[in-house]
Symmetry: D2
Subunit: 376 residues, 4 copies
C-alpha cells in the first residue's frame, strides 16, 4: 500500500517543490493526497487539485490542513514542509505534536533554541523529523561515508568543502525581492549565504567523516554593500576527533553554477566529490594513482548499491537524491530506521554552527563553540 | 486523472525496468495497474504485486495480459514493451492491433519488414507507437535540435557520434550467457553492438540534425574471435541534405563507461554533448570562444525549459530523460502529439540502417542505401 | 661541446619555427650556427642574424647554404628542414647526400616514390633522417608505447585516434591564401587534412601499438564546396598483427582546438591520451577502475622518466616534446640511436598510407594496401 | 650577443635547477658560463662542466664564485640563486652589492627585516633583484591581470586561491630528511607549507588583482603530529582596495597533484585558472555563459601574445613560464623593464604576509597587518 503524503509549500513555480514531488512519487512509495502548497490560498488549492489531490484535501493554509488532517482515518503518513525558512519551526513543531512524521526543508529552524525544541518534540512524540540534506543521499556520498567508516582513507585529517555559486552576483539584481530577502536579517535571520548553502556543506562534512563539528572560526563578507548579511563566508572548523575543516561558501562567485564539492584527506588516502558530477568519486590511496569510482560499479557498499537505480555511467541526478531521502523515509515509517537519514539532531547542529559562525565573524574570527547546548 | 499503465518485461533485476517505472511514475501521469513483467510467470506475478499491481492484473504472460486487458472498462492507456529484442515485434503489433498505445524498447523489430509492418499497423489502428530513444528527451539534446532548426550553427556539414563502452571487453566473460547472446545471430539477429547501442547514436544524429540517413558505409569487427556478430563498428553515412556522418560504436572500449556523445559541425558553429554529463552543451560560434551552456539557464528554448525539472546546475539524469518520454506520451495520449517523440517511423529507419550497415560491412565498405523501402 | 645546428625554413612568423628553436636550444645540446630561414632571402638573412647566426652563415637560400656548408671544417651536425611540404624531398635528399644528418618536418615527401628514395639515400649515406612526429616524444606517449610493449593492456584489439580541429571551418576564410593552398592539389598534393594532420595520428597509432598499418578504407569529404581536397576524413585500417584502427581527422570541427587524441583497447586494458592534456594517461585495467597516470609519477618507464624535465604535475608542453626529439637526435649524432626516434621509414609509411587512403576514398571505401612497395 | 649567466644551486638532481636551465636557454638570450651548483663542491664543479661551463668558472662555492667573477671583464649579466631558502638572503645580498643582477628563488628571505634589506640593497645598487614567481609569467595569467586592469570583470570583490598538494601526506615518509626539514623551524623558519607554496598563491592574487594584501587572519594546522610547522593553512585576507581574499594551502591533500588555482570574482564577471591546465581561462561575464579562453587565440592582450610561443591549443608548460621570466629579465638587463616581472618588493611583501599569518594563527585567527613596515 502506498503511504499517504501531504505537502506544505512547494507551490507552482517554487524552486524545490518539483524535486519533492519527483522524489516522493518516483518509487511508488507515496501518494500525494493532501497539500497546502502556496502562500496564496487560492493558487495553492487549485494547484493541488491539478496535481491530483482531492478538493477536500487541497488546503489554503497549513493550519486548516492540520485541523482537517489530524483526525482523519486515512491520515497522512508523512508531511513535507517546503515553505520559506522562517515558517519551518512553527509548522514542523505543530505537525510533530499532532503525531505526524515530518520531512522539513533546511534550515530546520531560525534559532538554536527552536532547534532544540524540535529535537525534544520529535523525541517526545516519537515521530520522525527528517531534514532534507538531500545531497547526503547520493549513492556516491554514501559510498564515501562507508569508505571513511571502514578505514579506507585512515583517520581523517582534513575535510575541505565548498558551496559557492554566482547566482546573486549581479548587483543590479540585488534589490530584486526574490534575492533581497536572503540578505535581510528581518527575513533571513542571522545569516545569509552560510545558512542557505553553507549548512549543506557542513552537514556533508559531518556525514562523510562520521563526526561532529566542535568549534568554528569564521570570516564573513557582504561584497555587495547594500547587503546586511554575508554573501561570502569562510568557516574553519574542528571536529570532535580532531579533523580540521575548511568551508567556503559564496553566492557571488560568478561563473560557478552549483559549486558544491567536498574533499576528504585522511592518513592513507584522499577523496573528492562534486555535486555537478555526482556519480563519480575520485579516490587516491596514499602513494598510488587516483582512481575514478563510478556509481553502479561492482563492489560498492550495500548502501551505494541500494540507492542507485540505473546501470553504471547512466547518470542519476538531484531529484533522485531527494527520492532516496523518501525511500529511507518510507522504510522508517514502516519501521526500519536506516543509518544515514538526516534527522532533527542534524538540523539542530546546523543551527548551532550557523550561530557560532556568526558570533565568530563578529568577533574577528575568534574560535566559538559550535555545539548545541543540549549536546555539550 | 492518472493514466493506466501496463508493462511487459522489465522484471526484477532487469536493466531497463527501473528506469521505466521511475520515468512513468515521476510526474504523476501514470499508475502502474497491470504487468507481465517476467519471462518466469510466477516471478513476474509476484513482483508486479510487490509493485502495487492488483493480483488480477499481475499476469504471467503477455498473451494472458492482452486477452484480459483488451475488453476491460478501465483499460490501459499505455503499454510499455521492455522485453528482449526478438519479442518486440510480436508483442507491439498485437497490442497496437488491440487498440493500445505502445512504448516499445529499441530496437523496435529485428527486420525491416517487421518495422514496416509496425508502421502500417500503428497508422491503421491510429495508435501511438513510440520507441524509447530516451536520450533524445534530455533537455539539452532538445536544445541542440532547436539550435540546428533555428540556424544557430548554420547548415550542418558534419555530425560525429560515438556510443562506445567497454563492458563486453573481457574475453573471459564472453561466454557468460548474459553477454554471449548479444553476439549470437540466432538470438540477436544480424547485428550485435550496432543494433544494440549504435542505433541510439544514429537516431540522435537524425534527431539533432533534423534530417534522415540516406546511405551508409560500414566496417565491422569482432575483436573477440568467438563472436559471430560485431563488437565494434565504424559507420560512415550521408544524410539527405548532404550532411556527412561518422559513427563509432564499440563494446570492447575498456575504460569507457557510457561513451555516448555527439558533435555537430555546421557552417557557423559547432556543438558537443556527452551522455555522461548530459546537462551541458559546449557551443562554439565560428570564430568565437566555446561557451558552456547549462540546462536550466535562462534563454533556452521552450522545449528545453519544459523538460527540465530542477534549477540550473542541479543535475538531471537518465531516468528523467525516460520520464520526459512519458511526459510527452501522456500529452500525446491526451491528444497533443508534440514534436520530438520518437515513433515507429524512427524505429523502422534504425532497422533499415542496421541492415544496410551489415550489408555494407559484408561488401567491404561499399555504400548501401539505408532508407526503408517504404520511404524511398 | 655543443653540436652545430642549421635550419631551413622556420622564418619569422612561421608556425613551427619557434618550436624547433626552443626544442633545439632548450637542453644546451645545439647551437644555431647557420640558416636559410625564409622564402625571402633578405628577410631570412636578417632574421638569422637577429637570432645570433654569424653573417656569413645567414643564407638567402638553401642551395647557397648547402654549397657553403658542405666543405666547412666546423660543419653542421644537423640540418632541420621546416619549409613547406613540397620542398621537403629535394632539400632533405640534397643534404643527406652531402653527408648531413637531417630532421625533416612532416610530411617527409609528396609521393611514395620520393619517400622510398629518401629511405634509400639515408641508408646509403649512413646519415640519420629523422621526421618530426614530435607528439611521439611526449613522456606519456612513450609510456603508453612501453605499456603496450610490456603487455600491460594485452594484445591490442583496437586503436581509435582523432586529429580534428576547426581552424579551417570558416567558409569566408577559405579563400585566404594561408588556408587555401592546403586544399589545392597543385600545392598540397593528393590529400589535404589527412596528409596534414591525419598522419600524426596514424604515426602515433603505429608508434604506441608497435605495429604497422597494412591496409586502409577511407571516406573523404570536402565539406566546403570550393575545396578540391578533403577537409574531413575517416580512415579505417588494419595493422599487421590484426589490430583494428579507426582514425578521424577534420579541419572543420568548429570548437575543437587541437583535438588530437588516441585510445588503445587491448585484451586486458584500455588507455587514453589527449594532446591538449599531454601529461596524463587514463588507464583502465580490465574489470578495474580507471587510473589517472601522471607524467613524473614514480614507477614510470625509463623512457618516460628520461624525457620528463620537471616534477610531477608541473605541465610540460608541445615545445618540450619537440625538444625531446632533439635530445634523441643529439644522442643519435653522438652515436647512440635510441628506440623511438621517428625516421625516414616512418615518413615513407605515412606517405604510402596517404596515397592508399586517397585511392580508397576514390574507390568508395574499398580496402587498399597501405604498405610502401619496398616493405611489402 | 648572448648574456652571460651564472647559477648558484640547482645542482644535479635538484628539483628546480632544470627549469632554470631550460628557461634561460630556451630563447637563446643567455649562455650558462659560470656556476656554483651544488652544496658538494666537487659534484658542483663536475656537473657545471658537463653542462658546458669552462673549468675555471665551475666553482665549488658561491663565495669563490663571487670573488672570481666580480672583477672579470666578461662578467656575468645575471646570477640565479636556486639554493635552499635559508641561504637566499646572504647570497642575493652579496651578489647585488657586487653589482650583479640577481634572480632569486622564492621565498626571497627568511625574515621581513632581511626582505627590507634586499629591497634597499637592490635600490641602492641599482641592480635588478627579481624573484621567481614564475606562474605569473604564464600567458593566460598575464591575460587575467590585463582583464582586471581593463575592467573586464569590474571591481574585484573576491579572490579565492589554493595551492594544495598531497606529496607530504604520507606519515611514514615524514621523517625522510627531504621532507622533514620543511616542517622544522630550525631549517624552514617560521612557516612550512604557507611559506613554501602559499606565497605563490598570495603573489598571484596580488598580481592578477593588481593590489596588495593589507591584513590576514590565519588558521594553521600540523596534521602530522611530529611536525612543528604547519602542513595545512587557511589564510583569509583583505586587499587595500577592499577585495576579500581566501587562500588554502596544504601538503597533505592526498590526490591533489599540483593543485594551484585561482578564481577572481568581480562586479561584472568571474574567471578561473588552474596550473595543471595553464593554457585556458574560464571567463564568465555576469549574466552570460562561461567562455573558454585559450592561450594563442586571436584578440588576447599584447602581453599574453608576446609570452606565448606556439599556436593555439599547443600546450605550453611550466618550464616556458620560467623561460618567460628570463625573457623579461633579458629585456630588463638590456634596459627595458617591463610590467609584470616580480621584484624584491614582491619578495618582501610575501615575507611580511608569512610572518603576519604565523602571528595570526598563534593569536587564534586575529587579524594582523600584513604590510612590510617600510611600505606602511
Ligand atoms: N534541500 C535543498 O537542496 C533545497 C534547495 C532549495 C530550497 N530549499 C529550501 O526549501 C525551502 C523553500 O525554498 P524554495 O527555493 O522552494 O522557495 P520558493 O520561494 O521558490 O517557494 C516557496 C513556496 O512556498 C510557498 N509558501 C510560502 N509560504 C507558505 C505558507 N505559509 N504556506 C504554504 N506555502 C507557502 C510559496 O507560495 C512557494 O510556492 C526553503 O526553506 C529553502 O531553504 C532546499
Ligand atoms: N533505451 C535504452 O536506453 C535501453 C537501455 C537498456 C535496454 N534497453 C532495451 O530494453 C530491452 C530490455 O533490456 P534489458 O537490458 O532490461 O534486459 P534484461 O535482460 O535485463 O531484462 C529483460 C526483462 O524482460 C523479461 N522478459 C523476458 N522475456 C519476457 C516475456 N516474454 N514476457 C515478459 N517478460 C519477459 C525478463 O524476465 C527480464 O525481467 C531490450 O530491448 C533492450 O535493448 C534499452
Ligand atoms: N610537426 C608538427 O607538429 C608540425 C606543426 C606545424 C607545421 N609542421 C610542418 O612544418 C612545415 C612548415 O609549416 P609552417 O606551418 O611552419 O609553415 P609557415 O608557412 O608558417 O612557415 C614556413 C616558413 O618556411 C619559409 N620558407 C618557405 N619556403 C622556403 C624556402 N624555399 N627556403 C627557406 N625557407 C622557406 C617561409 O618563409 C616561412 O618562414 C610544414 O611542412 C608543416 O607540415 C609540422
Ligand atoms: N619557483 C618555483 O616554482 C619553485 C619550485 C621548486 C623550488 N623552488 C625554490 O627553489 C629553491 C631550491 O629548491 P629545490 O626544490 O630545487 O631544492 P633541491 O634540494 O632539490 O636542490 C637544491 C640544490 O641546491 C644545491 N645547494 C644547496 N646549498 C648550496 C650552496 N650553499 N651553494 C650551492 N648550491 C647549493 C644543492 O646541492 C641542490 O643541488 C628553494 O628555495 C625552493 O623554494 C621554487
Amino acid at each position: 500500500m502506498k503511504l499517504n503524503w501531504g505537502m506544505i509549500g512547494g507551490g507552482e513555480g517554487s524552486q524545490i517543490g518539483p524535486a519533492h514531488r519527483l522524489g516522493a512519487l518516483a518509487d511508488g512509495n507515496f501518494s500525494l493526497v493532501a497539500g497546502a502548497l502556496d502562500a496564496d490560498a487560492k493558487k495553492g488549492r487549485a494547484y493541488a487539485q491539478r496535481l491530483g489531490v482531492a478538493p477536500d484535501r487541497a488546503y489554503g493554509d497549513w493550519r486548516e490542513m492540520l485541523a482537517a488532517e489530524r483526525d482523519r482515518e486515512d491520515r497522512l503518513d508523512l508531511v513535507t514542509v517546503a515553505t520559506p525558512n522562517s515558517t519551518h519551526f512553527e509548522i514542523t513543531k505543530a505537525f510533530l505534536e499532532a503525531g505526524f512524521h515530518v520531512l522539513c526543508e533546511k534550515p530546520m529552524t531560525m534559532t538554536v533554541e527552536e532547534g532544540e525544541e524540535i529535537v525534544r518534540v520529535s523525541r517526545a512524540s516519537n515521530r520522525i523529523c527528517a531534514v532534507n540534506y538531500c545531497y547526503s543521499a547520493y549513492p556516491m556520498v554514501r559510498e564515501m561515508r562507508h569508505m571513511v567508516a571502514t578505514g579506507q582513507v585512515g583517520k581523517v585529517r582534513l575535510v575541505v568543502t565548498n558551496f559557492s555559486h554566482g547566482h546573486h552576483g549581479n548587483a543590479e539584481d540585488a534589490d530584486n525581492p526574490r534575492v533581497r530577502w536572503r540578505y535581510d536579517p528581518a527575513m533571513a535571520g542571522v545569516s545569509g549565504q552560510f545558512a542557505d548553502c553553507g549548512i549543506h556543506a557542513l552537514h556533508m562534512a559531518s556525514f562523510v567523516v562520521g563526526d561532529q563539528v566542535d568549534r568554528v572560526s569564521a570570516d564573513f563578507a557582504s561584497t555587495i554593500p547594500s547587503r546586511m548579511l554575508e554573501d561570502d563566508a569562510m568557516v574553519n572548523f574542528r571536529m570532535t576527533g580532531g579533523t580540521v575543516g575548511r568551508l567556503w561558501t559564496s553566492s557571488v562567485a560568478i561563473g560557478r553554477q552549483h559549486g558544491f564539492d567536498i574533499q576528504i584527506f585522511g592518513e592513507t588516502g584522499g577523496m573528492r566529490w562534486a555535486s555537478e558530477q555526482p556519480n563519480q568519486v575520485f579516490y587516491t590511496p596514499v602513494g598510488e594513482r587516483t582512481q575514478i569510482m563510478e556509481k553502479g560499479e561492482s563492489g560498492l557498499s550495500d548502501e551505494a548499491a541500494r540507492l542507485s537505480r540505473v546501470a553504471i555511467a547512466h547518470p542519476e541526478g538531484f531529484p533522485l537524491a531527494v527520492a532516496n531521502i523518501y525511500v529511507d523515509l518510507a522504510a522508517a515509517i514502516r519501521g526500519e530506521l536506516r543509518d544515514g537519514l538526516p534527522l532533527a539532531e542534524d538540523g539542530l547542529r546546523s543551527m548551532a554552527a550557523v550561530h557560532a559562525a556568526v558570533a565568530s565573524a563578529k568577533a574577528d574570527g575568534a574560535w566559538v563553540d559550535a555545539r548545541p547546548p543540549m549536546f555539550r
